[in-house]
Symmetry: C2
Subunit: 271 residues, 2 copies
């Protein structure tokens, strides 16, 4: 008997023995496809200059073809040395004005301006900007948590697509497996409360899935589906937002299209 | 040996035999926590008046404590008979004006207006509204796909929180297991392309996770985390958008806070 999941799903012959990473059987008569989020423990604290791909591989040596590796922006930024000291910043007039509007440190506002191409909206303390990479985010994605002291801030990677590509190519060359890599960060919706993880860079995975199929009754229905953000969201939830220290998730069992030229701009709506 | 995931993660003793639904071991030295998305096959086509909880239970009889059942809005709406015929609608002047602006059928526009409390934005064909339940969505969530004919449209459930609660209470009473239920739908971000699943109603699960912890270095960091949308996103991806016919996902292994009074308004930002 075959359970066939079309489109994004997997196919599993339930008469086959269970493979690691799949568990298509929960009860005597129930068979299903499974997608697993593997929360990788034991990732050490990352320092500037660290070989992130090597560290991930050491912590999780068992990649399989089709795995999606989701890495928290924080450790990518740290490995890439994107740390800055607030005390090194001299604020401009524009930063001082933004600070007066928001009640924030003028030096912090300077960093936000330096990392952005435009301000989208200011609401109280919240500064929504377009980051240089094109992603819309609060405070240009500048991070204060999980850092050694209050004077240290962490910027987004300069190009998270390139970061993801570097990690993907290295892991693929060492393991011989074909994987995808997503760098995720906390984002959110202007209409909804609470952080929602989203992709800020990726490699090896087609970001938008364009359905060419018709619906169950043959009517055309072709909304595009944002694959990378939907995977990033649950991954973010499982990484936790505070000190949980699980910045690496491996998603196993999800079907996706390979795209070695995938880039963040594929999913952004330009202003 | 214990792998301890704080906050949202689970704890698993790797010396214990594997439990169904968990697979904490991938290689000789790698142990990890796992969250599984079980894609439930064989859910039949749903008709108005169907006992959705009963049908889910028949298809997936093996609920465990802590499972999160995610059900596509489409089948909830169908079971609740939220079908309307375009040919029964007489458009008002406002609907005719909206139709002229958007190039859409005036009767369709009437339905969108009937289901909404306000128009948020009109961009070309796209009508973003606040649905009566408070959720911001395009076309008031009115659905044309997976319906028998072009004259039939499907409205959102009147109150998806109540829908989720009814399903949860019934499944809990029949199985003796404590679960959560989320009704999800395709949403999206104004800044990003492609559909991203989001929750439009839920029961038994605290929607926002407020971290009370400090970060790895003891600095305060307490962004709230949108639990239900982050789970809905990957669930939507796995359900597929077209004719895949897998509108039921069970998420196993994710830790969440029980909340029997949870409601959609908990995560909405009011205008």
């Amino acid at each position: 008997m075959w359970i066939i999941g079309t489109g994004l799903l997997l196919v599993h012959d339930v008469n086959e023995p269970l493979k690691e990473g799949y568990m298509p059987r929960v009860g005597p008569n129930v068979h299903f496809c499974q997608v697993s989020f593997l929360i990788v423990p034991g990732v050490p604290a990352i320092k500037p200059g660290d070989d992130l791909a090597g560290i991930v591989l050491k912590t999780f040596p068992d990649f399989q073809d089709g795995d999606v590796l989701v890495i928290a922006q924080k450790i990518v930024s740290k490995a890439e040395g994107r740390l800055v000291r607030l005390s090194d910043i001299t604020p401009s007039e524009a930063a001082v004005a933004l600070a007066a509007n928001t009640g924030r440190d003028p030096r912090y506002c300077q960093l936000v301006l330096d990392e952005s191409t435009r301000i989208v909206e200011v609401k109280g303390k919240v500064i929504v900007v377009e980051h240089k990479t094109g992603t819309i985010c609060t405070s240009a994605g500048i991070d204060k948590s999980n850092l050694e002291d209050a004077d240290t801030l962490l910027l987004l990677p300069i190009n998270s697509d390139k970061s993801a590509e570097g990690i993907r190519v290295l892991i693929e060359s060492k393991t011989g497996k074909r994987i995808a890599v997503i760098v995720n960060d906390s984002g959110g919706s202007p209409y909804r409360q609470g952080a929602i993880g989203e992709a800020i860079g990726f490699s090896g995975i087609k970001a938008l899935y364009e359905s060419k199929t018709k619906d169950l009754f043959g009517n055309p229905c072709a909304p595009s589906v944002n694959v990378v953000d939907q995977l990033s969201a649950t991954a973010s939830l499982l990484m936790g937002e505070a000190g949980e220290g699980t910045p690496v998730i491996v998603i196993r069992g999800v079907s996706f299209q390979r795209d070695e030229n995938a880039k963040l701009r594929d999913i952004l709506i330009s202003a």
